[in-house]
Amino acid sequence: MAIEMKVPAVGESITEVTVATWNKKEGDHVKLDEVLCELESDKATFELPAEAEGVLHIVAKEGDVLPIGAIICTIEAGGATASVKVADAAPAAAVAAPVAAPAPAPAPVAAPAAGPTSVLEVKVPAVGESITEVTVSVWNKKTGDSVSLDEVLCELESDKATFELPAESAGVLEIVAESGTVVPIGGILARITVGGSVAAAAPAPAAAPSAPAAPASTGDATYAAGHPSPAAAKILDEKGISAASVAGSGVGGRITKEDAVSAVKPASAPAPAASAPVAAASSERTRREKMSSLRKTVARRLVAVKNETAMLTTFNEVDMKPVMDLRGKYKDKFKEKHGVGLGFMSFFTKAVCVALKEYPSVNAKIDGDEIVFHDYCDISIAVSAPKGLVVPVIRSAENLSLAGIESEVVRLAGKARENKLSLEEMSGGTFTITNGGVFGSMLSTPIINAPQVAILGMHNIVERPVVVDGQIVIRPIMYLALSYDHRIIDGRESVSFLVRLKQLLEDPARLLLDI
């Protein structure tokens, strides 16, 4: 018997993964818990261990994007022959034709009436512990449509994420909860009539018993489904969206103006030709590569933050001489004692924690109509990893010593570089520090790491002439930037926060004395 290996649920907001690399080949004998492949989500990379011992049959190729629950591969336990597995893996059509006809005839159409029917209820799956209900956003299928196993039926929306619901079985769909309906976890979304006659299940009132030989029941749900109103047609054309890809919410599935206004161009299917980054035509001076799912998520979130927050940036400058002097004096002893170098990061993190305590709105987030204040400082550190920007979190940084912070930074940065960060290590930060200075940035306006409301931008340290006590002197200066969400942080807090940071860093003894 073959075991189907499916994409595990890896996190509540993750709806799909990309198969990064296969460690095993088709037909390989694999052992229990042996790593079969590496999967990549927009947040992290993880390994898929074998759930059984046996012969591996790969279903999803490297680069395939799979929804949660989709089949990645099968493992044939007990070493049966290949022919049996092929039959197992065959598409669901076989289910509908239990008649033992060996020929691959179009059985489900030819002999529909004979098959036994059963009705499967499609329910809202448990998608996360804090989610109690979901909204049906779009049905990809209509009542009366034939659906195949794992075909995406609809899109569900929770307050946290959107996810797709694949069919648990092949059959004929009957929608119970229309688009826009709010359904509790476990509530019935639809019914799938498995096996049996297509015509019998279709809602057409007429001609059911007479001749199921008639063509498929696709059109007779309503002939006007997908017909755009005059205004909708114009809007869709201007957006370059085909009416066929829009689900009409009007009577009988008609596409209303509102449907057209809110229609979004579906992500274009991956290029049919080889998606390898080999340039299509060598004469062309451009090169196309598919965006990784991490890149796509980063892109989507950054734009969302820009659109959804009232973000602006305030600046200040810090004379780094006191911190540099302190570091110069103690860095060897520090390394000796703690086994980790004394960098600037620990000073900044520590100073940020002190300032956050004094200006709690900078350490907050918005949840609906409420502001959530955090009585702890989980500081996200932006790290440039090989696959893009990641933000691991230093937990309760306010309770850590400088050495504790430094060793956490080293640990997390190391994991980031090896793409080994877990989802857990990247979620739940309350404030972010990003250091563009390591690349030589003088000044920047970082984008908030939502749902956080503020981010500190560090920059390079440059010797500049400054005036101290009426004298022009040369000092190592770093510009600081604080981007913040003006919806809940006012100028007084944001500017004071940055001034407080400056104060703490220019006189690090204050950190010790808590003044």
Binding site: Y223, A224, H227, P230, K234, E238, G250, V251
Partner: protein
């Protein structure tokens, strides 16, 4: 050495430059100009005549409707008042006043369009517009002076003129076109109408009501032959009540004027000749696209064999980029409201939008009394296309509102798909049909079924109940009141 920059600027300074120049101020042209202005373009409109509005306003829809209503009032005064319990002295037609009133209606609307041009900051040029190049238009004024204006986009909206048969000597006195029929000095004793299409039917019925004996000569076998056959049949019945004669399937062979008498000869389908004598002959055999004097060649354009300017189906752009054409001068029905849609369409295309026109759902209207209006497919078209359909009709004589008014001539006919019940065509003859057809257009734009309309509440008592009843009939032969 380069020419000094000043040389260029100087020559340009004399030429006014526009984003959009519209040639012709009919319903297509002026709507196009307004929509262009709304979209932020700098717009000019060029009109040959002293007044704006084109054929529709000056010698078409509007004046004919003014006379239709005047003649209808007269007809009612003569024939219906007594029955309604109104006793008056025998009314007389005052043709001079009737024409004067019509002129007032027209000049009222002329002023309206001029106001709209000003309001939308559209520059108006009065003079004959002709192409100077693909990007410039020469406006030749009545005094012979001319001016050249340049435009990024040019919209040809020059409309149409009545077609004249070569063997019929139109003298505009006794043998006339629709233009002269709108400013008659007397009521003809016997008006011979060549062509019983929309215009012939409308103007013929005006004079029939004013007391003229009217004889229609039509090459096809029915009145308004392009419309659903039921409409032509019903209209003929209605007009025949006023004493009109019909020579259907007759081919006119000659027409001659002798003093105050016009003699028209025609042959029936068997070749038998008839001779009809009257005091006026109205020639209404159709209209031709009008591009005379437009100098299409200068823009690199030519008219096709029927005089039309060829345009791209999706953009209404001609073969020369930046030049568009709309209305009667391009393919499709010669209807003011079709031209208006195209006027809006082109302005939006120029602005980079993607508007739509559903040509199948442009209603056709005949302003006779009773009026005729239709949209979608005729029964004949559905048969020819092999589409299985259901038909539902409702007669006005069973309609409370129609009985109360005494306008009982007419029928509403709905054609729906035999399987889906989708409405495919609606054909109405009867009082207010032209207004009623809008409901059918809305329903069909949304692809409503006959039952959808049948289940919508229609106010009582109204003429539109005929639509509901006909839809009930089309749904399952279940109209309530017949």
């Amino acid at each position: 050495m380069d020419r000094p920059l000043g040389a260029y600027s100087l020559s340009i300074a004399y030429m006014q430059d526009f984003d959009v120049v519209v040639i012709g101020s009919g319903p297509g042209g002026y709507v196009s100009a307004i929509r262009s202005a709304q979209l932020g373009f700098k717009v000019a409109i060029v009109e040959k005549y002293a007044v704006m509005g084109g054929t529709c306003l000056n010698v078409g829809c509007i004046p004919s409707k003014a006379l239709l209503d005047s003649s209808e009032h007269y007809y009612n005064a003569v024939h219906s008042f007594e029955e309604h319990g109104i006793d008056i002295a025998k009314p007389k037609v005052n043709m001079g006043q009737m024409i004067k009133r019509k002129a007032g209606v027209v000049s009222n609307l002329n002023a309206g369009i001029s106001y709209l041009m000003k309001k939308n900051k559209i520059t108006t040029f009065h003079g004959l517009g002709s192409f100077d190049s693909a990007k410039t238009v020469k406006v030749t004024k009545e005094d012979g002076s001319s001016e050249v204006i340049s435009a990024k986009n040019i919209i040809i909206a020059t409309g149409s003129k009545p077609t004249i048969l070569p063997f019929i000597p139109v003298d505009k006195e006794r043998i006339i076109t629709s233009t002269e029929a709108l400013k008659m000095k007397e009521v003809p004793k016997h008006l011979i109408v060549i062509g019983a299409g929309v215009i012939g039917a409308e103007l013929g019925s005006v004079y029939a009501r004013l007391g003229s004996k009217v004889s229609f000569i039509e090459f096809a076998d029915s009145m308004i032959p392009t419309m659903d056959k039921t409409m032509g049949k019903e209209l003929q019945k209605s007009i025949a009540k006023m004493g009109a004669d019909f020579y259907l399937s007759h081919k006119v062979t000659s027409a001659a004027v002798k003093g105050k008498e016009v003699t028209v000869k025609a042959q029936d389908s068997a070749g038998k000749e008839v001779e009809i004598k009257g005091d006026y002959c109205l020639v209404c055999i159709g209209r031709r696209p009008y591009t005379d004097g437009l100098n299409l060649a200068a823009a690199g354009l030519t008219a096709d064999e029927r005089g039309r300017v060829a345009v791209d189906e999706h953009t209404l752009q001609t073969s020369v980029p930046g030049i568009y054409a709309i209305g009667d001068v391009v393919r499709g029905a010669m209807l003011a409201h079709k031209a208006e849609e195209e006027g809006t369409f082109v302005a939006e295309v120029i602005a980079g939008q993607k508007p739509h026109i559903n040509y199948n759902l442009i209603p056709g209207v005949v302003y006779t009394w009773p009026e005729v209006a239709s949209v979608g497919k005729t029964e004949q078209e559905l048969k020819a296309a092999g589409i299985a359909y259901k038909e539902g009709s409702f007669p006005f004589k069973a309609l409370g509102r129609a009985i109360a008014s005494g306008d009982v001539d007419g029928v509403c006919k709905v054609l729906a798909d035999a399987t889906t019940d989708e409405i495919l065509g609606v054909h109405i003859i009867g009082a207010r049909a032209a207004d009623m057809i809008a409901e059918a257009v809305v329903a069909m734009e949304y692809r409503a079924s006959a039952e959808d309309v049948a289940r919508m509440s229609h106010a009582h008592p109204t003429y539109t109940e005929a639509m509901k009843e006909a839809c009930l009939a089309a749904t399952a032969k279940r109209s309530i009141h017949s």
